[in-house]
């Protein structure tokens, strides 16, 4: 410490011997421990990365299709008699026009053979009700369309969309081998192909039967032993008989098979027409006409379509499948960006449902939360960290704030229900109340993060300010707070991101309702993104699955942007000392 008291020079010579076996052994143990630690750390990182990658890939795979929609590009004749029968061109009258009839006519012109009521209804069902609204909007925006024919994109219904995306059933196409002789017409067509044209398809049918038999046998194995119960015995006999009859059908590989709606559908595409096979043999098949092909008895170009899922289990029957197939073949379908997903509110029709309402609801809710949380949270943190006297009361306060951060969010929801809705009588389902509840939830996080940021500012900076005659408050506001700001902002943004993803407390205050209208104010009924995801994930329609994943992607994107903002803000304001 003092110059007069120098430490004596090191005189011990017998220290660590580099070459001794003990030293080497010790070193080796140390290296092993280090290597072990490194390997474990790497493993942990890899496992985490794998989980994350799996999650992301799964969500992207499921969600990206929801950003695209299928549309039929059909020629629509804007018939004045249908949409403007009075001939006034008055928007009020145009709004009343029968635009459904336009869609119907456009479909009819493609498939004139669909005549009976049921078939026509199925045909109309291919197109979404959204397409009708689109036509109405188009005419209102441009009344000059009336009386003209235009190619318009007509949105497919969600079932048709799923079929075109092969989500309803897997479709395999096989080019027909050899010429095919077509005899008979409409419901009783016989197809004869030389050289075992249908052998592969027949084998496939038999494979399907074998699978069904295996399922029956598996079910049989789960039944209790024979003789224990009369009901079980009957069931057992039934299953055994069914399995045996299937076995008989499989046994002869060349025996013809009757195809019902419980087996995969086989369609034969001949030019512009489609036939459905009802009975298949190796060389010969019986079929019914779905869409009549051009007449002709010897066909050289044909193909065989297998729709894997039996018709009864499908959303789209063989008839509609055939229409969609032909529309696609004629180049009248298109896949386009689904702007509706970002422009619409919620809907019962999956193809029309969008996240605009939930996005705006989330934005309004977060705005309320931010406006409440930041001033209150930061002020509380500054007071507690810099000004509050250290006594039992402030200790108690600190413990309670830390505990509040760990309270389950649903409790805050119940609190919001009891206080804001019941006691203060604020509107139900409103972003105002949602924001208030989330503010309560996020406040402890912001206070704790802000206090940590304030505490991290070196005391020497405050001392320096006090030393030149700044008051305590000036020292805090001129020097400590600016230096703590990056940390405070990071804490705030992380808190906000937390609030953005919060669902449970919002369920309690009624933000879980089915709300179609896009909210315009913080007192209007709204829902938020995570609640929208929760609602959609609960719906049985397959089409909503991809909407759910799509909404999750948007939510993740939102979070990513917020976290990026946190990083950028921190970089911008960070000062080193």
């Amino acid at each position: 410490m003092t110059d007069t008291a120098l430490a004596p020079p090191m005189t011990r010579s017998a220290g660590v011997d580099f070459d001794s076996t003990e030293a080497r052994e010790l070193l080796k143990r140390r290296y092993r421990a280090e290597a072990r630690f490194k390997a474990l750390g790497l493993l942990a990182v890899l496992v985490t990365a794998a989980f994350l990658a799996f999650l992301l890939v799964d969500i992207l795979r499921k969600g990206i299709p929801s950003f695209f929609e299928h549309r039929a590009t059909l020629t629509v004749n804007f018939d004045a008699a249908l949409i403007d029968p009075k001939g006034t061109r008055d928007p009020a009258d145009l709004r009343e026009g029968d635009y459904q009839a336009l869609v119907r006519a456009a479909l009819q012109s493609q498939f004139p053979e669909a005549q009976d009521r049921r078939t026509r209804r199925a045909l109309d069902g291919m197109i979404s009700s959204g397409a009708v609204d689109d036509l109405r909007q188009a005419v209102l925006a441009n009344p000059g369309l009336i009386g003209q024919s235009r190619v318009m994109p007509l949105l497919f219904s969600s079932d048709a969309d799923l079929f075109l995306r092969q989500r309803d059933t897997l479709i395999t196409r096989r080019t027909g081998s050899g010429p095919l002789r077509v005899e008979g017409e409409s419901n009783a067509v016989t197809l004869r192909g030389g050289g075992a044209a249908f052998r592969a398809a027949l084998a496939e049918s038999k494979t399907f039967l074998a699978e069904r038999r295996r399922a029956l046998l598996a079910e049989l194995a789960t039944l209790p032993a024979a003789g224990s119960n009369a009901g079980v015995d009957t069931k057992r006999t039934e299953l055994e008989q069914a399995a045996a009859s299937i076995q008989a059908r499989i046994a002869d590989a060349n025996a013809p098979e009757t195809l019902t709606d419980r087996e995969p559908s086989l369609l034969v595409a001949i030019g512009d027409g489609i036939l459905k096979i009802t009975e298949i043999g190796a060389n010969e098949a019986k079929a019914t006409t779905l869409i009549a092909p051009k007449p002709g008895s010897i066909i050289t170009e044909w193909s065989l379509l297998t729709l894997r899922v039996p018709e009864t289990n499908r959303r789209v029957n063989d008839n509609v499948s055939a229409w969609l197939e032909i529309l696609a073949q004629r180049g009248l379908t298109e896949r386009a960006f689904n702007a509706r997903f970002f422009q619409n509110g919620d809907s019962r029709e999956p193809e029309l449902a969008g996240i605009r309402g939930a996005l705006i609801g989330s934005a309004l809710t977060l705005m309320v939360t931010l406006l409440l949380c930041v001033p209150i949270g930061v002020a509380a943190a500054i007071y507690l960290e810099e000004f509050a006297p250290k006594n039992r009361f402030t200790d108690l306060l600190e413990v309670n704030i830390n505990n509040l951060a760990a309270v389950p969010s649903i409790v805050f929801g119940l609190l919001g229900l009891a206080v804001f809705l019941n006691a203060f009588d604020l509107p139900r389902s409103a972003p105002l109340v949602g924001g208030l509840v989330l503010a309560l939830l996020v406040l402890p996080t912001i206070i704790i993060a802000s206090r940590a940021a304030l505490k991290a500012v070196p005391p020497s900076i405050k001392e320096a300010a006090l030393g030149v005659g700044a008051s305590h408050q000036q020292a805090v506001f001129h020097h400590v707070l600016p230096l703590a700001m990056p940390g405070i902002m990071t804490g705030t943004i992380i808190g906000m991101a937390h609030a953005l993803g919060e669902t449970a407390p919002l369920l309690m205050i009624g933000m879980v309702a089915f709300i179609v209208d896009i909210p315009g104010a913080i007192t209007e009924a709204a829902t938020v993104l995570p609640v929208q995801i929760f609602l959609w994930s609960d719906l049985p329609e397959l089409a909503f699955q991809s909407r759910t994943a799509g909404a999750i992607i948007v939510l993740l994107g939102f979070l990513l942007v917020m976290n990026a903002a946190a990083v950028i803000l921190r970089r911008m304001f960070e000062r080193r000392w």
């Binding site: 003092t2 007069t4 320096a464 005659g469 000392w577």
Partner: protein, 268 residues
């Protein structure tokens, strides 16, 4: 001023300048710990007084009493009579903020604000309203930097961060920052302990220049430094002031056995 009993002055110090700071029976408690015991000392005006002593002897504590920095520690209690120019600096109506404008402080570790060099120096004058407009502040900044003999090194980069300077430069910036509010007294708490010998030499040179205009109190661990820069020295031990006097006398001819032992390196 008249109600202060003069300390017994040894004959060789009869011509000592009039005291700037007078301390009588100062006691400091940190909670249960009795850190300073009955310290009475006079700090003469214009000149350098050094406080020396082993670690934990209370010299820094006493230094921090002079600008009431101890007020920021809640558990710290100061009793006794501490006056500057005869005025009780612990009188209830006196705001320590004003006191600190007249008693500047330089800390052990250089602690410039993480702002520009200019802002570092201009902060104090602005705070106390010492300048009316921009040109006056510019003048104050330049003159403070010149007095701290830093101006020539930084005149082209006043906008650079104060933390970008070297350790010695940072400490001189801190001195400039303290000078800029025109204090009468500058307290230095081991100002060179974080610096290399060359930077230390520069600071010591600077202290020697400043003593014509300021009353400087310096706490130091280095007895060589105390001997080099100070005219008076006080030796603290275990919270007590053992002796104080003209530096030469303390080092050449200490009156007290403890002082002699410390100076000759028997302990510490």
């Amino acid at each position: 001023m008249n109600d202060i009993a003069p300390l017994a002055v040894p004959p060789e110090q009869a011509d000592a300048p009039r005291p700037k700071i007078t301390a009588r029976n100062i006691n400091v408690h940190y909670g249960e710990k009795h850190a300073l015991k009955d310290v009475s000392v006079d700090v003469p005006e214009k000149g350098v007084m050094a406080f020396i002593g082993p670690s934990g002897c209370g010299k820094s504590t006493f230094l921090r009493c002079i600008n009431r920095m101890n007020d920021t520690i809640p558990i710290c209690r100061v009793t006794g009579d501490l006056r500057m120019d005869g005025r009780d600096i612990y009188e209830p109506g006196l705001d320590p903020v004003l006191l600190r404008a007249r008693v500047g402080m330089v800390f052990q570790k250089p602690n410039p604000f993480p702002k520009s060099i200019y802002e570092n120096v201009a902060y104090g004058p602005r705070l106390h309203g010492l300048a009316g407009d921009k040109t006056e502040i510019d003048e104050i900044v330049v003159s403070a930097l010149k007095k701290a003999s830093l101006f020539e090194e930084v005149k082209d980069r006043l906008k650079d961060s104060g933390t970008s300077l070297s350790g010695g430069q940072q400490q001189r910036l801190c001195i400039a920052r303290a000078i800029a509010v025109r204090p009468q007294v500058i307290l230095m708490d081991e100002p060179c302990s974080a610096l290399d010998p060359i930077a230390t030499a520069k600071i010591e040179e600077l202290i020697d220049e400043l003593r014509t205009n300021f009353t400087i109190v310096i706490v130091t661990h280095s007895m060589q430094q105390a001997a080099r820069v100070s005219q008076r020295t006080a030796f603290f031990h275990l919270g007590k002031l053992i002796e104080d006097g003209v530096t030469d006398q303390i080092f050449m001819n200490p009156r007290h056995e403890l002082t002699r032992n410390y100076i000759t390196g028997r302990f510490g």
